[in-house]
């Protein structure tokens, strides 16, 4: 499972405060803790007005790179910001994100197509100019368009993390059926592609959110989810990821599961 650590995001009030005060230690601590908890990428989102965003991301990225060699998921709703901010990364990371919306793809894919950026990956949301499509068929149509663009620019499916867009369960009419249909169809069409999700969106506005998040994770992984934007320092979440991978037959002799336990990443704290 690819884990995109979500804890450095300006939309979290304590992080916003740290950004405003340029509290480097706070940012570094969150980067370090996520790295220790086996994150694959450290997500970095400023959540400040666009005119300050590039400069803010530069400072944040530098803080993160001081404490970990993990690749960074450069997170901004603006493709123009991503085009500037990715340059601050010492090693190839993840563009978070593009979608079928506007010309985002045409700004990011050409950068990824360059020889020197072959290590860069991208998250692609299945929304377009009309918003988030309601039904699975429409999201898959957006997916088809994105993959046509990827082919055009020579971006291999293994560099793309498709985000089927997780919406809150409490107002959904069909539970996560739409998500599951999208995930399993995408997985069937492209065995090498990554499928990601912002897991905690699912439980918005519900009590004991953790239970909903964990249940969603298992069902989505079963359908083909292999990447997630989540908090790796949440031991229940991480433990369930290892357990589910073993149950899905993706963990030879359960050695990853046992290894995570031995490293003290999962199970009761010793």
């Amino acid at each position: 499972m690819i884990i995109i650590g979500e804890k450095i995001n300006g939309s979290i009030p304590s992080v916003a405060e740290a950004i405003a005060n340029r509290d480097a230690e706070f940012i570094k601590d969150r980067a370090r803790k996520q790295a220790e908890a086996n994150a694959t990428f450290i997500d970095c989102c400023a959540s400040v007005p666009e005119e300050q965003e590039v400069e803010t991301l530069k400072w944040m990225i530098e803080c993160i790179q001081e404490v970990t060699d993990l690749p960074i998921s450069v997170d901004s709703p603006s493709a123009d910001v991503l085009v500037e901010a990715y340059k601050f990364c010492k090693r190839p990371g993840l563009f978070n994100s593009v979608s079928g919306e506007g010309d985002k793809i045409d700004k990011i894919f050409p950068i990824m197509a360059k020889e020197e950026n072959k290590g860069w990956q991208v998250i692609a949301l299945l929304s377009d100019d009309s918003g988030i499509p309601k039904c699975a068929a429409d999201r898959l149509r957006v997916f088809g368009n994105i993959m046509a663009k990827a082919k055009e620019y020579g971006i291999a499916p293994s560099r793309i993390h498709i985000d089927p867009l997780v919406e809150m369960l409490c107002t959904s009419e069909d539970g996560i059926a739409t998500n599951i249909e999208v995930i399993s169809t995408v997985r069937k069409q492209y065995p090498d592609i990554h499928i990601t999700a912002a897991v905690s969106n699912i439980s918005f506005n519900l009590p004991v959110r953790k239970l909903i998040n964990l249940g969603f994770l298992v069902l989505a992984m079963n359908a083909g989810l292999d990447s997630g934007i989540l908090d790796p320092t949440n031991r229940d979440m991480l433990g369930l990821i290892y357990a589910t991978e073993a149950l899905l037959g993706e963990d030879d002799y359960c050695m990853e599961y046992i290894g995570a336990y031995r490293e003290g990443l999962i199970g009761p704290k010793k």
């Binding site: 002799y253 359960c254 050695m255 046992i258």
Partner: protein, 210 residues
Amino acid sequence: MSKLEEVSVLITKGKAKLIGAAVQEALDDGCEATAVLDTMIDAMGVVGEQFKNNEIFVPEMLVAARAMKKGVEVLKPHLSGGSASVAGKVIIGTVAGDLHDIGKNLVAMMIESAGFEVIDLGVDVPADKFVEAVRENPDVKIVGLSALLTTTMPAMKNTVEVLNAADFRGSIKVMVGGAPITQEFADEIGADAYTADAASAAQKAKELAA
């Protein structure tokens, strides 16, 4: 870390993909093939001990044994007679009427890792099949019988009786094990040894064959 230490660490960590190269490097470095084999057997001994003490889980023992197997493959051509079975031959099987093989397989694996050649007769093995196997392998040193069910304990008793009546009895040792088996039961039916787990079985086999 010396080459032999590296081999030892890779065995205990169960690194099947890396062990072959490490064994080859140790040989290239001038280590005797038998010394490499002894190192691996000792490492498996440590793994067995850890398992016995509940310090590691079954899969960790399995991957160590898998690494051992890979290492032995590389080593075999360098050993005299092309054989890694320095300790002798062992015949093993689950007794008649009993289809359980997990415990038996673990024991077979650990005994093999201790340097024995293991002839595994499988599950539901009638007494005369054991006798036949010993006749076909006159150099066999140990016969191991497994039973998981209380209902197949009589079949184990019967098998030991048949073996005890055979003319070759003096040249073999009979070991028994399985969840319902006890030292008391082993004594009562006339077996030579009982062990409670796979690691102890391998240890006991070494003692009996020495």
